[in-house]
């Protein structure tokens, strides 16, 4: 049984190896074509600038961006943890409610109520608004 379990992951590992080989092979083939002069390599300084609408870029990487993105990152962490808690429960829920009846439902409803409260708070505090 355990051997069978690991065999599935062995197949998955093989799949991952082949999945890495395919794009790397494509890149390698494309790279190899430049040696037999099918793919041109005529680079100029103008070609090698970043494309920003045709104007020469006037500074290196921009370091400032809208702080709004942080709000969504924080919210994501909160609600993604909720997902982590709910997944194992959802898989066993059918069996649990057979065994414990309404208790299995009540426990999770309590959890969802707390989450919904947090969600309502975030909405009220305008963390979900972009502007």
């Amino acid at each position: 049984m355990l051997e069978d379990y690991f065999r599935q992951y062995g197949l998955l590992f093989l799949f991952a190896v082949i999945a890495v080989t395919v794009p790397v092979g494509m890149l390698a083939l494309s790279y190899a074509a430049s040696f037999v002069r099918i793919r041109p390599t005529r680079q100029t300084p103008v070609k090698r600038t970043a494309y920003e609408g045709g104007m020469p870029p006037f500074s290196p990487k921009p370091s400032r961006f809208n702080f709004r993105y942080y709000y969504y990152a924080l919210l994501f962490v909160v609600f993604d943890v909720e997902t982590v808690f709910l997944y194992p429960w959802a898989v066993r829920y059918g069996l649990l409610s057979k065994q414990f009846g309404i208790f299995a439902l009540a426990a999770v409803m309590l959890f969802l109520a707390v989450v919904t409260l947090a969600y309502a708070y975030a909405w009220r505090k305008k963390a979900l608004e972009w502007t």
């Binding site: 494509m26 090698r48 961006f65 993604d80 898989v91």
Partner: protein, 418 residues
Amino acid sequence: MDTFLENSLFRNIYCNLASASENCAARGYGDALLPDGLQWLAFTLTGVAIIGLVVNAILMGVLGFIWFERRVFARFQNRVGPNRWGPFGLLTPVADAIKTMFKEDVAPEDSDRFLYNLAPVLMVVPLLVVFAVIPFGIGTFVADLNVGILFILAVTTMSGLAIVMAAWASGNRLSIFSGLRAVALLISYEIPMALSILGVLMISGSLALGRIVESQNVPFILVQPMGFLVFFLASLAEMNRTPFDLTEAESELAAGYLNDYSSMKFGLFFLAEFMAALAGAAVITTLFLSGWRGWEPVPSQVWFFLKMGGVLFVIIWIRFTWPRLRIDQMLAFAWKGLFELTLVNLTLAAILIAVWPQPTTTQLWMMAAINWPVFFASIWIIGKVMGVRPHQIDRTAMGALYPVATDEPAPASEASEQ
């Protein structure tokens, strides 16, 4: 019993290669090619053969899908579409692939070389690996993981990482804006996407995709309409398709994170974009459209691909029907619309399962009958809550700077002055 021997193609190759396998002998296979003690080699060779087949099929499928999308697009616009290379232009994507491969590779001067080259590979790999756990038909799968759907959710998040990596490594202003948008959108839509599957998991009681398909005596699109809608829209956003393709909004960001990519690296991103649509359609088919199940004379694999084709057509249809949304609209839609809908769905599903644990087919139909009215009602309520506020153009203030074209004739006073 070994799970991997349930795969008929795998069994045929493996049992002819490996000897002294009790499971093979029990299934009536005779002499083997390899000597005793080399079962691991037989396993690896069979695995590579099957996986090579699947990966090739996916790549061909992507080429076919590109052709299909361009032809359908053309029909929507009353054009003919690509028709020069091969019958009905079937070879056009092949010509595109060859052309892309032999283009000059130009990288910007101040790009981060390692990440710049790694990003296209990292973009393609997860989308390929998704197909490893999808059951394509009866006994047609690569690996039947018992955590299949978790694996898919975990792996597809990686492509968001690849977008950010590409955007940052290019050292391009427009690319970085695109990358930031990608992060915001991907993490926002990740949550409704993950939560919408919970209803399916409760009914089927398993994370394995094979079990989920087997438990769909009624397709889950009927039992879980809210889950389906949320999952479909969220996966559209995750695969960066219109109307959610803010990461490469041409009119604002040129091509977004693709700006400074050329040659085959661009080709890989292009490949990944279409492969994402294929993977999304495959997952939706498996979870909600009862996967490979269908009526008898037609093989199960054909059913799977027919359903997948239907989902792909709807995806293309949506792409060419709706315009692109703004970022505030998109984030509001994820957090205020879809998240609420998943909470309603989750609560309703939990109550229904408490009433009917491990439901039979009749009980599934009853669940569907309860779910649909709630579905329409909650969409109506959420529509009211989110509100539709049409954008008002202030003609008096703006008109002075940017004249807005109207049907009304120009004021007489201005005309007389000139």
